[in-house]
């Protein structure tokens, strides 16, 4: 039987993705130009992670 993972092993990636998403949502709200670009980069991260893990065979 596989051993149970520790809290950070389970929640590390979700917390990181959540923080990146939240930063992206706020960046475009607080600043135009550079803020917009940061928001694109940040919000692309959860999309890419989902497509990468979900789409590979």
């Amino acid at each position: 039987m596989k051993s149970t993972l520790a809290g950070l092993q389970i929640w590390g990636a979700p917390i990181l993705l959540g923080l990146i998403t939240a930063a992206g949502l706020l960046a475009a709200l607080l600043s135009d130009g550079i803020g917009d670009m940061l928001s694109w980069l940040a919000i692309a991260v959860p999309v890419a992670v989902g497509i990468w893990h979900g789409g590979r065979r």
């Binding site: 149970t4 993972l5 092993q9 590390g12 959540g18 475009a28 709200l29 600043s31 919000i43 959860p46």
Partner: protein
């Protein structure tokens, strides 16, 4: 034991909140997809204005003349709002209605602010996009429909919270991103549901919560009108009804003078719920990315054109105003809209896979569904197992 009881409660919360809201959430995700690109679709359909390059010659067009022109285009109807355009400062629009306080608009005419030329009659309440919008906003049922969808949004938020707790349980032996494709379709879709659910969590939580706030727009503005606006207007309540002609141009100029670093988002005409009986209210927006989403109301006495009151909006109205961009995804250019659409698409996969998992597993017991059976038997008789080896 305690863990199992609380796990079962979370499971039941997730199951029932999801089951009730899933079909409506599917409708909202599907109708929301084209709405993300409403501006682009309007442009493609020729429902937006491309103003020509003009040499600026002297003063700008008189707002009273623009409103007068709008009124001649729709006899018997009256002006409700003068509307500015944050993206296009050379554009004014006049919203007409059957009466000044009528909740529905009857026409929306746009004008070139430089020469006063009529440029667009925006088609209201017609076409494919209008059907999509109504399905998304209120299911064609007005305020009750809106509040109903708000309640579904609250269920979505509960489903997201309980789903996150269950994610921690399901993933206790799996590396992040694991999708077990070989064993069975159920297991594959369970893993995909967990993975895609957790990567879209913060986005869907934000869009869901701001969607709920948006469904409360009417009660929120209603409260502001009944308290703050009524307060600002109280000293003028006993004034005689408006006589003579009041000037929109003067009211706008007064508002501009009071808030020189802001621009007009919209101005409500006397008699409207957003104005006083004899007063215009100009709602000014700031010129930074954040303050352009917020509004400052300026009350202007219509006959004299004098500013009589201005007061920052209370926090609950500002929360509503900030909820709009965060729900629509229209505040960071086309790339942000495309990401919004992708996240919307992934959310549809989460909804459909959740429904699939329920259909496949609904005959099984709670323990079997969570895969607790085998773990339990192993833990219950550790001595016997050890002995049999």
């Amino acid at each position: 034991m305690l863990i199992r009881v609380s796990l079962k409660s979370w499971y039941l919360i997730h199951k029932w909140t999801s089951l009730i809201c899933t079909l409506f959430m599917l409708l909202l995700c599907l109708t929301g997809l084209p709405l993300i690109f409403a501006e682009e679709i309007d442009q493609a359909l020729g429902r937006s204005v491309e103003l020509p390059q003009l040499m600026e010659t002297g003063p700008r067009a008189d707002l009273d003349a623009i409103v007068a022109d709008a009124l001649t285009r729709k006899p018997g109807h009256v002006a409700q709002f003068l509307v500015g355009d944050a993206e296009e400062p050379d554009l004014w629009s006049v919203r007409l209605g059957k009466s000044v306080a009528a909740p529905e608009a009857s026409a929306f005419y746009s004008y070139d602010a430089r020469n006063g030329e009529f440029v667009l009659d925006y088609p209201l309440d017609e076409g494919f996009m209008n059907i999509i919008l109504r399905l998304h906003v209120d299911l064609f049922a007005g305020l009750p429909g809106m509040l109903f969808l708000g309640a579904m949004g609250v269920l979505l938020i509960l489903a997201l919270v309980s789903g996150t707790v269950l994610y921690g349980y399901y993933m206790r032996k799996l590396q992040f991103g694991t999708v077990r494709r070989e064993r069975s379709p159920q297991m594959k879709w369970l893993d995909l549901h967990n993975l895609l659910g957790i990567v879209t969590l913060v986005w869907l939580f934000t869009v869901g919560l701001t969607g709920v706030v948006n469904t409360l727009a009417e009660p929120i503005f209603g409260r502001w009108q009944a308290t703050e606006l009524a307060d600002m207007l109280a000293p003028y309540r006993k004034q005689a009804p408006l006589s003579g002609t009041s000037s929109v141009q003067n009211a706008w100029a007064a508002a501009q003078q009071t808030a020189p670093n802001m621009s007009l988002s919209f101005m409500a005409f006397p008699g409207n719920d957003f104005a006083g009986p004899n007063q215009f209210v100009a709602f000014m927006q700031g010129n930074t990315p954040l303050t352009s989403k917020l509004l400052l109301p300026i009350v202007i006495d219509a006959p004299s054109g004098q500013v009589i009151a201005t007061r920052e909006l209370p926090v609950y109205v500002s929360v509503l105003l900030l909820s709009k961009p965060l729900h629509f995804g229209n505040y960071g250019g086309l790339p942000l809209k495309i990401l919004w659409a992708l996240l919307d698409g992934i959310s549809i996969v989460v909804l459909v896979s959740g429904l699939y998992l329920w259909l496949k597993k609904r005959k099984l017991s709670f323990e079997a569904r969570l895969g607790l059976l085998r773990t339990q038997s192993v833990n219950k008789f550790p001595l016997e197992q050890a002995g049999s080896r």
